[in-house]
Each structure stands twice: as structure tokens, then as C-alpha cells.
Subunit: 344 residues, 2 copies
DNA sequence: CTGAAAGCGCTTACAG
DNA sequence: CTGAAAGCGCTTACAG
């Protein structure tokens, strides 16, 4: 069918079909009305000649490139299942909408060309992961001319479309479960303080305590940074405080906590209950399996792309805010039942 | 500095700077010679006005878009560390070269728009992972107008730049190690027959046997499909043949084999030695840790991008073929030493 | 070193 | 339904 070397332009297709460039364009794009015979003729000719529209030209003329951008300022796809999952979901959904995906995935700050492709032209709109909120070049992107959908709550902007998981409610449910299962000294390992997902989870923890008439105790809170190691360290420092349960603001830190507790010769859940947040694959395979809050990353990515596509088609009505529920998944790292267990 | 809403064009920058569009373009791009004063003036003006070149226009005029495409027809980044690692390496290297990355990652076959972006215009060149060799739309891409770099040996084309790991040599080294450590009945679990990486590993196995004067035995070969489950199944069928070692054509299948052997109450490496291929992170954490052949995926991705950038800059000299060495990593799933062990 | 001009390949009001 | 024309925003020989 198609030849390999030669690049065929719309002009040539039009001439061969005996119509104008305008008509050929319409016949191929199918938006405006063209007579059926002409439409058919042009399509057959285009096919036979191996015509491929030049995306740059189309983009320049129409203002739409057909590509979406995904920005995740992280370098580690392999060790970061969250990022890997998000990329996967966004890529798949974009393909389903016949949109190409421009991926910006790097610890390295990009050079002028790349930065510009994302700010202008090459991409019609952007999905920006919350990991990078605050970095100057990310904020610059949000201010740029393209529609954006943010993943996660932005610390300051409320005027941008956002998809976020219900971190506060999820954390609150997890901590409530710990308390209702008998815990009274519920410790927390927090994540990076500037991250809003962490902030909201901490807030959920505090609310659950308050609603159950328990006081906040600074001695029962230790900061981590969302890594396994930091969870391990934090737990070691918490052990002397004799908590009977600990809520880690994400799963990797919960894994670290589990290890620290095991090394101290204590048992989970009998001596200390542990709950995490994320429901990463690892949560099902720890020993004991981890009670945690599920974050449906696939749904987050899908929703983000869909919100963006809507933004691109209909003019920005008002910025959407989608909140994805975060259900508690109870496994063996906490006791089930309610209130049985160690009673005070 | 920059305003948000208005989009500034080169035309406006030129007018404000009191020069022609051509000169402004030269001043900004820095290729051709422009007087230092003019260059400075234009740059300052452009900056102050918040000018961002329109990539589509630039691409249309210059024929270069500044974006590379990566094609991996797989849907699973999370469960496929190989793909995740490759994406990571390619993304990072592209960013270092100030090239944007268009990612095509999907089981779903893409629609006409996306397919076209990859065939023409929006992307300057392509890195194509071997996973998809054979699929019509992939071959179509290779035939397209853009320079391509293939990852892995293509079954038929030898005229395209290729980065590949030395599968045959790696497999041969692994099997030789099994034999030299005392094995005489060395079984193999093969991968998907159409995949060239599998073919080359099988070839390495056969060569090692031949060089050590051992005969091929069909009863000692079982097909798998690169998944853990298939490795498990294959091993169960091999067990009655009483092999004293097994080479799995990738790590996941080796993991499956390990499990089957364990369930049969046999011990690794004492009863059966096991070797894999890939050196995925999991290889270091199996019980016992897995002897395997290391595939440096990071280097593969980096080399691919660099070969592509070279192809883009210098006109296609002749297609490069880079072969990345694949060293054997000996762990506890095989015995070390040479020839001690079970002697016949 | 600089400018006028042509052109990259398409889309889209505007007339008919 | 169709065509002639303008235009999208840039780059790049070609003259000077």
C-alpha cells in the first residue's frame, strides 16, 4: 500500500483526487460536510498514496496537537510503584482517547527545549503529579497557557482542576479502626511535612483521636519521609513510648515499622497493631499482611486524563475537583473485631 | 517577569527589539552569527515579554520537533520491572539531551492520531523495544520516515540501528558454569519461541552443552512464556527427568522453578542447581539467592537514546549495532567451585 | 551581520 | 458541498 521513502502531502492527495486542498482536508477529517463520493474518493487516494498528515502542521494550523503531557518529577519508576502505576494508567487512558502521551519523568530539571514543549504547543494539556508542587518550573507550568489537571491537593491553588484521593477520610477510618479494636496509645509516623497528602492523613489521624476522646500526645508522633528506612527509624524511637498501635502515613514506612517491631522481639498485632496507607502490592505480602488504606491509582490516572480531555473539548467551565474514596483494607496486622483485645 | 495569559510571538519580540523576525530568530537560537549587542537586546526583550517559541511552528519550519518517541507495547509497568527500568533510563537520558519523550505504552493498539504522531512529525526519531517486533503497526513504524533504534535483535531486519544485550554469550556462560560445577543433566526452560532474546539464550545453552561434550536431550527442555507460573509448571514437568541443574531463560521463570523444586521437597543447589537471566531485583532476594546473568537495562536505554541522537545529528552513516555484555552473577542457587560436587 | 521573502503542511472562516 | 485565500509561528537560504 504505502511507499516507504517519499513523504506525501495533503496537496498531492488533493491534486490526485482532483479536489482542492480544503476539500481534501475536510474529507479526511470528517468534521465538515463533504459529498459522500468525494469523501470516498479522497480517502481511497490518500490510503493508496500512503498519506500521513504532518502533526506539526496540523497542530500549528488548528491549535491542537493531539498530545497530552504527564509530569512526574521523580526518577524512580522501578522502586516507586505509585509512579509506575500512575504512568501506566495515564498512558492507557490517553491511548484510549487517541491522545499521545508526552512523559516528563526526571529528577533532572529539563532543558529549555523540553520545558518549552510542555509550556507551549507540542502538548494540548497537562496532568501534573503532586510530587512536584512547589518547584518553580512546575508552578510555571500551571500558570502556562495549557489546561492542567493536578493530581493531589495543591497547597495554595484552588482554581485548578484536581483529582485527589480522600486522604483525610481514609486515615481517619484506619485510626478509628485501631482505636475501636482496642488501642489506646496510637502512634503516628508522618511523611514529608510539605506534602499535602501527608498533611491530610495527619489530619485524619487527629480527627479520629478527637472523636474517640483520646488526647494528642507528641511523644507518640515521629516524622519519616515516606521511605522504608525512615519508617524503621521512627518506629525504633517510638518503641520506648510503648504504643499499642501505630499508623504509618504510607505503606513503605509501615513496612519499616514492621521490621523494627519484629527486631525488638514484639509481635504484630498482639503487642502492637500496624496500619499503613496506599495498599501497594507489598501490603498483601508482608508478615503479617498489612492493614492499610487503598488508594486506587489506576482510577486516579484515568480520571485525570478524562477530566483533561473534557477541559480540552468544552471550554473550561469551572475547575473540577474529583475526590476518590479511599477504603480501609483490614488484614492481619491489626486485630479484627471491636473492642475485644487488650482492654484498659 | 512573564505575564500569564497573553501568548507572545517571535514577531512581537522582533518588533519590540527593533529587528527583523529573522534576526530575532537567530539571536535566540544562537546558531548563526549575530552582533553581540543585538543578541543581548533581543534576549532581554524576549525574556521580559515572556516569549516561548511555539514548538509546532518551529517543528514545521525546521523539521525537528525536539521530541523522541519510545515504543513499548506492554501494559504493565508495575509488574514488569524490565519495562519500568527501560522507561526510566530512556526518560532520564532524553532529558539530559534536552529532548522530550513521547511514550507509547499500551496493550491497546493506538488510534489514528497517536499512530500518526509516531510515524510523522511530532517526534524526530524512535526507540522501539523488541517486545513488539512482528506486530504490523510496529513494522510500519520501522519503515516510516523517522530514524529508529531497536532494542533487541530484530528477527529479520539487519539494516536498522540496534542495541542488544549479549544473550547468547550470557546464557552460554551460565550453562557452562552449571556444567563446570558438576552438572551433567542440565535442563532448560525456554521463553516465547518468537522472541529473539529467548532464541539467543537457547542458542547459548546449546553451545555450552556442545563445548562440554554433552548431548542435547529433548526430555530436558520445556517451554515457558517468561512468567513465574510458566516456570513453575515447566519445572514440575522436568522433575521426573531428574535434572541436576536447570537454566531458565529469564528470572521470573527461575523463580517459578525454585518454587516447584521446593514443593517437591528437593533442595537448591544440593539436589538441583538453578540459574536465570536478567538479574532483576528479585534475584537477590529469592531463597536461595539466584545465580543469573545480568542485563544492564539502564545502559541499554541510555545507549539507545544516544545512538538515536547521533543518528539525528549526523546523517545516517551506517546502522550501528551495539552489543552490551551480559556478565554472570553467581549466587547461592548454584554451587561455586569447579567440578567438585556430585561427580558422575 | 541583517532583512525581505519564501516556505514548512495543514485548517478554517469566508464566499459562493 | 466546494474553492480561493489567508494564516498558524517559526526557520532558512538568498542577497546585500
Amino acid at each position: 500500500v504505502a511507499g516507504s521513502g517519499r513523504i506525501v502531502t495533503l496537496e498531492e492527495v488533493a491534486r490526485t483526487s482532483g479536489v482542492s486542498r480544503a476539500t481534501a482536508s475536510r474529507a479526511l477529517n470528517g468534521r465538515a460536510r463533504v459529498s459522500p463520493e468525494v469523501r470516498n474518493r479522497v480517502r481511497i487516494v490518500a490510503n493508496a498514496m500512503g498519506y500521513r498528515p504532518n502533526p506539526a502542521a496540523r497542530s500549528l494550523a488548528s491549535g491542537r496537537s493531539g498530545a497530552l503531557g504527564l509530569v512526574i518529577p521523580t526518577g524512580h519508576l522501578v522502586e516507586d510503584p505509585y509512579a509506575a502505576h500512575l504512568v501506566e494508567a495515564v498512558a492507557e487512558t490517553a491511548t484510549c482517547h487517541d491522545q499521545a502521551l508526552m512523559l516528563w519523568l526526571a529528577r533532572v530539571e529539563p532543558g529549555p527545549v523540553v520545558r518549552n514543549e510542555f509550556r507551549t504547543g507540542l502538548v494540548d494539556g497537562l496532568v501534573i503529579s503532586g510530587v512536584g508542587f512547589g518547584a518553580a518550573w512546575i508552578e510555571d507550568l500551571i500558570d502556562g497557557p495549557h489546561p492542567c489537571v493536578l493530581i493531589g491537593r495543591h497547597p495554595t491553588r484552588t482554581d485548578v482542576a484536581t483529582i485527589e484521593v480522600d486522604n483525610a477520610a481514609g486515615a481517619k477510618a484506619a485510626v478509628a479502626h485501631l482505636i475501636e479494636t482496642g488501642a489506646r496509645r496510637v502512634a503516628i509516623i508522618t511523611g514529608p511535612p510539605e506534602r499535602t497528602d501527608n498533611q491530610d492523613r495527619v489530619q485524619g489521624y487527629e480527627e479520629a483521636l478527637a472523636e474517640h476522646g483520646l488526647d494528642l500526645d507528641d511523644a507518640l508522633a515521629r516524622p519519616g519521609d515516606f521511605t522504608v528506612e525512615s519508617g524503621y527509624e521512627a518506629m525504633r524511637q517510638l518503641l520506648p513510648q510503648a504504643p499499642d498501635a501505630v499508623f504509618a502515613a504510607n505503606d513503605p514506612m509501615a513496612v519499616g515499622a514492621l521490621r523494627a517491631i519484629g527486631e525488638a522481639g514484639l509481635s504484630v498485632p498482639d503487642d502492637i497493631m500496624v496500619a499503613g496507607f496506599d495498599d501497594l502490592p507489598v501490603a498483601a505480602t508482608t508478615d503479617p499482611p498489612l492493614t492499610t488504606v487503598r488508594q486506587d491509582i489506576g482510577l486516579v490516572g484515568e480520571s485525570a486524563v478524562e477530566a483533561l480531555v473534557r477541559l480540552l473539548d468544552d471550554d473550561p467551565t469551572d475547575p473540577e475537583r474529583v475526590v476518590i474514596p479511599a477504603p480501609l483494607v483490614v488484614r492481619q496486622s491489626t486485630r479484627s473485631g471491636n473492642g475485644r483485645g487488650r482492654s484498659p
